[in-house]
Amino acid sequence: MASKEPEAAAEPVEDGAAAGAAEDRAMPAEAAETGAAETGAAGGTGSSHPDFEPKIVAFCCYYCAYSAADLAGSMRLQYPANIRIIEVPCSGKVDPVILLKAFEEGADGVYVAGCMEGDCHFLKGNFRAKRRVQAVKKILDEIGLDGRRLEMFNLSAAMGTRFAEIAEEMTERIRQLGPSPVRPGASAAARPATVPDGAAEHEAAGKQGEVKPE
Amino acid sequence: MTAADAAQAAAAAGAGGQGDGAAGATSGGPRGGGCRTSSRLERVLREGHFAVTCEIGPPQSSKSEGILKHASVLKDYSDGQNLTDNQTAIVRLCSLAAAVHVIRAGGEPIMQMTARDRNRIAIQSDILGAASLGVRNILCLAGDHQTFGNHPGARNVHDIDSLQMVQMVRAMRDEKKFQCGDQIKSHEPRMFVGAAANPFGDPFEFRVRRLAKKIAAGAEFIQTQCIFDMDRFEKWMRMVRDEGLDEKVFILAGITPVKSDKALKYIRTVPGMKVPDELIKRMEGAADKKAEGVNIAVEMIQRLKEMKGVHGVHIMAIAWESIVPEIVERAGLYPRPEVEVEEPAEAEVAVG
């Protein structure tokens, strides 16, 4: 993940997206810290929840991210199978309610992928999405779900590689954060979001099969 | 319509010239004319002396010693001592009680009264109380906003504004009427009524017009915001004279001695204040900054003494009351004139 950092930072980002990028950059350090703390229990993989397969919903704009996903496929790029893509006509179509619903229904992570800033097919849809993602991040923090479970990304239809990277980046991030405490069958006591508990993880991993039969 | 016309037009009843002592919200009328109150400050001004007033900030406690100490010194170096009313919205000993302490020390209090903390009922009640205790001067103010002080969560009042307060106090005195119109059957409070003016606020071109409004409302003396930008003050005074307002009201120019260039730089950030660069440079270059601060104050007073239409100075030595005697002496304003004031027969005698 650390190796992808410069590229992520090099992307033309501003304001909220910059904050997002900064958060991304902050991740490895934090991950390293929690990872180190977990080394004994997790078998030295550097990940807090190595066996945990997060369920991540990605709202992908038809004009960029969705096409980039296609391209990634054509290029035969490998990316985690944890991502469930939902095609939207524009990232600006994504409403806060939809983002929250995804979490309510048990998603461990959610991201919105829109066009590069300035390149929105509908001019400003991706800027709206950015603001909404920021607002919902705040709500997630307020209700104790951790705003880092949600992110906004910008890419173009030509960035198949970047699409795969984002998928990996998010999967790794959510793995670090652990299962969502609202996953069906989960209970608060068993799954604090920030204090990893080995037993709880196993339980989560065990239940994972039950809750996603697809 | 000029500002002077405005003052004329808006003056109640449009009654005659200045200084005629008639009832009604006529102009303050400097010089000559009979005194309308037993205020010593009024007497000094009407006799044509260059007046000196100063300021005493009441403590944030119930301890009166400081007020008494300052007043006992300042009474000989000034013709009136302002008692601030919870300035910068910080809770302090009330200006009414502080004014009474000043009387005890032999001084001549100017009670400041803001519209921030009291409605018209409380203000009139305090004025009756103050008059009964021998307070003869009042300065009507809007008051600093509560968010600047130590109770930002307080609810402000602003039932009336400073101009309306002036009007109200004049009507209580001259028409023997409460604001509601009811008669004050006897012992109406006889206060010499002042207001503030800020020559440095905006819109600049409206400042003089608003002064005319204050005079029309009944202001008899004006204490200005402290002056650092003398050029702008002169420009303002020119406009005041052009409208003939200096003939209708006594203008006391505000002076604040500062101890350092840091203080000046801070004052510069206060809304409605202007401090020229040269002044800051001069303070920066001074070896003894306190002495230089006093020099500047003295020089300014000397310049003000020569300025037509300025009837006195108001020295606001914030938390530096002890420096006032030196400034007054060096400005050639000591000793203060001795004036005879008639105690109105019906007024109760001040506390001993």
């Binding site: 929250l100 209700i143 | 319509m1 504004d161 606020g201 409004k213 809304p271």
Partner: protein
């Protein structure tokens, strides 16, 4: 319109702590326009609270309904069925809405989800600003259509005070001085003469206090 702001979710969660069957009620008027209490915001809050409850392992239902106007009994009556099933009603209406619901359902616990702030309008998408203080005695004809009661931080009727500088209020550089605005506008309209009259103290009897103010229009009455 009435402009309101959402209470923090943590505060709302505390208000409905003892509820097992919560009904969140939106309003289709002002709070929909200022995007704090319409259908969408109701769903967002419901979803957020459901997540919170699930996270805490709490069982319970959260239902929603948004009515045309919470400030009119005939619409509030439409809530009857869902209110009956609920043990607590969280209103995302203004303070008026909360009270009308409480009055209509005397045996139900009704709590506010918003802080009702002011009478204002949309100055740009996503930004609302105060314009009216509901003083009950309009003087806008004297001040060029700019209200000093609510837009001047000291409600001065004979302004500006000495703190006005460079067009802004002494409180904050982001607050325009209402009296500078009034001066500029009247100057532009050639009506500075309006400012020469000393405005007398305002009669506040038409303003707040003295019990709720009431307005009756006889010809609009049916009974």
């Amino acid at each position: 319109m009435i402009v309101a702001e959402p209470k923090p979710i943590s505060e709302v969660a505390e208000l409905v702590r003892d509820s097992n069957h919560l009904l969140i009620v939106g309003c289709g008027e002002c709070v929909t326009v200022c995007q704090v209490g319409g259908e969408k915001e109701v769903e967002v809050l419901a979803s957020a609270l459901r997540i919170m409850w699930k996270k805490d392992g709490r069982k319970g239902t959260i239902d929603t309904q948004t009515i045309v106007r919470q400030c009119e009994p005939e619409y509030v009556a439409e809530l009857a069925k869902k209110v009956k099933e609920a043990d607590c009603v969280l209103s995302l209406g203004c303070g008026v809405g909360v009270q009308f619901i409480a009055e209509a359902y005397p045996d139900k616990w009704v709590v506010p989800g918003l802080n009702t702030s002011f009478g204002g309008g949309t100055v740009q998408a996503g930004v609302w600003e105060e314009r009216c203080g509901f003083c009950g005695d309009c003087i806008l004809h004297l001040t060029g259509g700019i209200c000093p009661i609510i837009r001047c931080s000291k409600s001065i009727l004979n302004g500006p005070c000495g703190g006005s500088q460079d067009g802004h209020c002494e409180l904050d550089k982001d607050i325009p001085c209402a009296w500078q605005l009034i001066y500029d506008r009247l100057k532009g309209l050639g009506r500075l003469d309006l400012l020469d009259a000393v405005q007398p103290p305002k009669d506040w009897t038409a303003s707040r206090d003295g019990g709720p103010r009431k307005f009756v229009k006889e010809e609009a009455m049916i009974e």
